[in-house]
Structure formats: C-alpha cells, structure tokens
Amino acid sequence: MNVVSLAARNVLRNRTRTILTVLGVAVAIVAFVLLRTVVTAWNVAVDYAAKDRVATRHKVSFVMTLPKRYIDTIRGVRGVRAATWANWFGARDPRNPDSFFANFAVDHRSYLDVFDEMQVPPADVAAWKADRRGAIVGDVLARSLGVRKGDRLTLEGTIFPGNWEFNIRGIYTATRRSVDRSQLIFHWDYLNESLPESRRDQIGWTVARIDDPSRAAEISRAIDRTFDSQDVQTLSMSERQLNNSFMAMFDTLLDALDIISIIILAILLLLLGNTIAMGVRERTNEYGVLRALGFLPRHVVTFIVGEAVVLGLIAGVAGIGLSYPVVEYGLGRFLEENMGGFFPYFRIEPTTTVAAMGLAVFLGVVASLVPAFRASRLTVTDALRRLD
C-alpha cells in the first residue's frame, strides 16, 4: 500500500459517480479529438502538397478553358521538367447520383508522371494507356462504387451529357497523405473525340513539374508572362500556394473550432472539479483522521491531487479509446469517402492523442487544487468534527 494505490482506491470508491464522470469526460474528449482532427486533417492537405508543381488555369476563372496548344508552350518554359493537363468532367454514378466524386479527363501519356504519388502497378498503367475507354480509380472510390479492375462502369455526364462507358483498368493508392483517393481519371482523347468540332482541343488546366521548388513563384510568373499578349491569359501558382489560398477561406471556421475546443476543455474542467470536490467534502473526516495520525497538510494535498491524476488518467484513456472507433472508423471513413477533396486523410494525429491525454490529467490536477488546498488548511479538530 502506498499513496498512489490509496488514491486509486478512493477514485473507485463511488463507482456510479466515477463511471458517470469518466463517461462525461470521455465524451468531451471525443468531441475535442474530433475537432482537433478536423483542423489537422485540413492542414494535411496543405502540408503534404507537392512543392514542385505549378498549376496554370484561365486568368478569369477556374471553369474557363485554355487552348490545348498552351501545353506545348508551357513545356518549353525554362525550369519545367514535365507538364500535363486535365479537364473537369463532372459525371456521376447513375446508381447513386447524390454522392459526389471528382472525375477528370486527363492526358494519359503524362498525367501519372506529374502526379507520381498516385501509385498504380505498371502493368495496369500500360493496360490503361492502351484502352481509349480505360479509367483508373482511387481505392477508396473503388470500394464505394463497388468496382474492381476489369469491371465496366457507366457514368452519367452532366457537363457533357450522355452515358459514358469506362473499363476500370487499375486502382490507384496514395504514397502521400494529400492525395484524394476518391478520384476517377480517364483518357482526355475519349472526351475530346466525342465533342463537336467547335468545342474540341480545350483543356481545363495544366500542371507542370519543376526542377527547383524554390523557384515556383518565379516560374509561375514566367509562364503567365508568356501568355500575356495572347487572347487567353493565364494564372499560375504552386500547388502549395493554391491549397493555402483555398484554406484561407476557412480561416474563420478554423478559429471557431479552436474556440469550441477551449469551451470543451472548460466543460471538462467543471466535470472533473465537481466530482473531486464532492469526494473531498465526503472524506473530510478521513483527512482529519490522517492528520490525527501525524500526516501533514501536504500529504492531504498529495492524496487529493493523486486522486485527480488517477481520475484524469482513467477518463483520458476512456476518451481516447472511444475516439478511435468514432473518429477513424466511423466519421473518418465517411469523410474520406465522401469529402476526400477536403479530408483526403482523416486520421487522429499522435500529437492529438498525447494532447488529449495530457489535458485530461492536467485539468484533473487543476480542478483538484482548490479542494485540496481547502482540505489541507482545515485544523485537525475541524476536519474530525465533520464526523458522524
């Protein structure tokens, strides 16, 4: 027997109250972990964005297209190693028209060279390149569409009306967390050939791979300058810059999430504080007995703070144990499948786990300081009189 085991046993003494407190705190921790994970998952897209890619689009708007010949000009700009292009296709699964996923018509010759974090077995890449109607889908999308390699898939066009037939030639996985694993890509040629003459040879945007990431801004300017005197002007920026400007729109939302996190922590503090204060009040007489035996006020503080640490630990473990299934398997799966563009990688960061655990214990200690101090200040006889 020692101080720690005595504290632990006192925590378990009023089971019902401890269980209720632990559950309350655990739920608050789940909410906390969830919010922090939204923030970290959001930042993952920025942090893991490739630094060596420059995207170019129509100067006016994302939805306006560029002449296809621009790709050759961009490939000729100094510092550009490779370049590819893509068009937004915007088709949907007729079996499930409400669930959104990104689908692009891409240059099958160059796309996977520029987006090399999309991993496809080489044999499948070859098969895809050889099949005009071939398509490659992300593993997350493949699961939700219920398709496998070799399957046939019909999509319903929205921007380009009609039924479009594809052969699934490969499934891609990701080597980088910023990759949306719910995309479908297919041959740009397939789209282009089916369009009327007047709408052909238009590309949505280009993406260039550059030699030196530190020169991204410079190369972006160089590309835009090349097209300055043409009738269609461009806007180029690095992938990271693009993600940053996109995230900036959500800054206030992220601030709001931070404030809610703090409110959750305050609730946690009150929950723990209430339980600890009740326990201390009930046991005042026992602290009197300990003092009568010769224990000092600081021992009383140790007993009470020790109890709070044990309570915080139990609640922290319970909260984190609950967070993983809820956040990673429940909501995380859902978000990765349905909002992969925003949350390509919705997982609890180890730092979040450590923070949640640390805060549960820390707040327990904070909550116990006032009752501990009060109990230790009582005279022995006053503590003993809170008796029968």
Binding site: L6, R291, G294
Partner: protein, 225 residues
C-alpha cells in the same frame, strides 16, 4: 511508576472562537496523569472532555497555559512539530473507529507507518504483530465493512499501537458497541495498560467502562471534581 507525570496540564484555558462569539470550554484547568496509569474521564455532554483529550493528544493547542506530554511542551509547538509528536507518542482511538473503508485491516494498521522510514516488509510485519496483539490476525485481509463494530474498534486499537506510542488516548471507545464487544475492547485496553505499560486516558459515559480504569476523574463545566 516514575514520579514525574507523563501528562501535565497547568492553568489551561481553551476558548473556541466562532466569529464574534467566544465559547470558553476549559478555564484554569490543572490535570495530571502519572506514567502507566489507566484513567477514565467522565462528565456530562459538553463539559469539555473531548477538548481536553485533543489537547493531550496534540491535536489542538490551548488558548492559554501549559500542556506537557511525554516531557514535551505542546503549547508552543508548530503544526508540523505537533504532527510529528502525534505520530511518535500518541495513539488515538475514536468512538466511531474511523478506519479507511478502502483499506484492509492490515493496511489500516500499516497507515501510520507510511510516515516512518520502514521498508514495506517491516511495515507489514509490524502491522501483523499489532493485529496479533488485538487478536485479529486472521482478519488482516478483511475490509472494515466485513468486520463487526467490535472488530473494527480492535483494528483501530492496533493502528493506535503500531507505532509503539507511550500514551493511548481514547474518546468514548465503547460508545458505539454492544455490551459484549465493549467488554472485549475494555479488556484489551486493560491488557495494553498492564502488559505493554501504555498510559491510557479514556473518556467514557459508561460506568462499567470506568470500572476498568484505575482512576476515574469527573469533569463538569470545564472543571475537575
């Protein structure tokens, strides 16, 4: 029996202050207990018996006067010095036993030893020895709720003697017990007095309990009679 009393209170005044109100409980009290005595203290409720015991046990300080116990002057001691004094010289026995419910009998008895430098094994041996003295060796793994009132009080007595103090101070130790258990406890206190030479000061309302003591003193309105 040595000439010098082990407890010596001289001109002790104890007044409680509650806000603006002052409650004088003891006033100019002189009180002595010879070494090795077994004294019973009787008197009506509110006469100040517990207050007097608390002063002897170093749980509280007098408002005025001198309290000498085991050769030490308690009235001038700091809180920490009083705590150390209690741990080394006093065994306190309460009316309602006051065992910690989350600890077993043996752990309850061991509790005061946590303040010493003794190792785990030695603490355990001493706790078991104390339990043997009170005849509850085979109950050492039981929790207080698994014991009868009389057994709980005997565990509390084991806790009071585990540090081998010179003085045992008991505040109505049989107040919550039936006749049979009360007699067992009194018999035990008698043995501790005669065999282990503990000085005992016991407050009681029970004339049969007072019988056991070698001397019975009466306190009324803060004055000895």
């Amino acid at each position: 029996m040595s000439a010098e009393p082990i407890v010596k209170l001289s001109a002790v005044n104890k007044t409680y202050f509650r806000g603006s109100e002052s409650i004088p409980v003891l006033d100019g009290l002189d009180f002595e207990v010879p070494d090795g005595a077994f004294q019973a203290l009787m008197g009506p409720s509110g006469s100040g018996k517990s207050t007097l015991l608390h002063l002897i046990a170093g749980l509280d300080r007098p408002t005025k006067g001198s309290v000498q116990v085991a050769g030490k002057e308690l009235s001038k001691m700091s809180d920490a010095e009083l705590a150390a004094f209690r741990a080394n010289h006093i065994g306190f026995i309460f009316q309602s036993y006051n065992l910690l419910p989350v600890l077993t009998a043996q752990e309850n008895v061991e509790l005061p030893l946590l303040l010493t430098k003794l190792g785990r094994g030695e603490r355990k041996t001493r706790a078991q020895t104390a339990l043997r003295v009170v005849g509850l060796e085979e109950r050492m793994g039981h929790y207080p709720r698994q014991l009868s009132g009389g057994q709980e009080q005997r565990v509390a007595i084991a806790r009071a003697i585990v540090n081998d103090p010179q003085i045992l101070v008991a505040d109505e130790p049989t107040g919550d017990l039936d006749r049979k258990s009360a007699d067992d406890v009194l018999e035990l206190l008698g043995r501790l007095n005669t065999e282990l030479k503990k000085t005992i000061v016991m407050v009681t309302h029970d004339p049969a309990a007072a019988e056991r003591a070698t001397v019975t003193r009466h306190l009324n309105k803060g004055a000895l009679q």
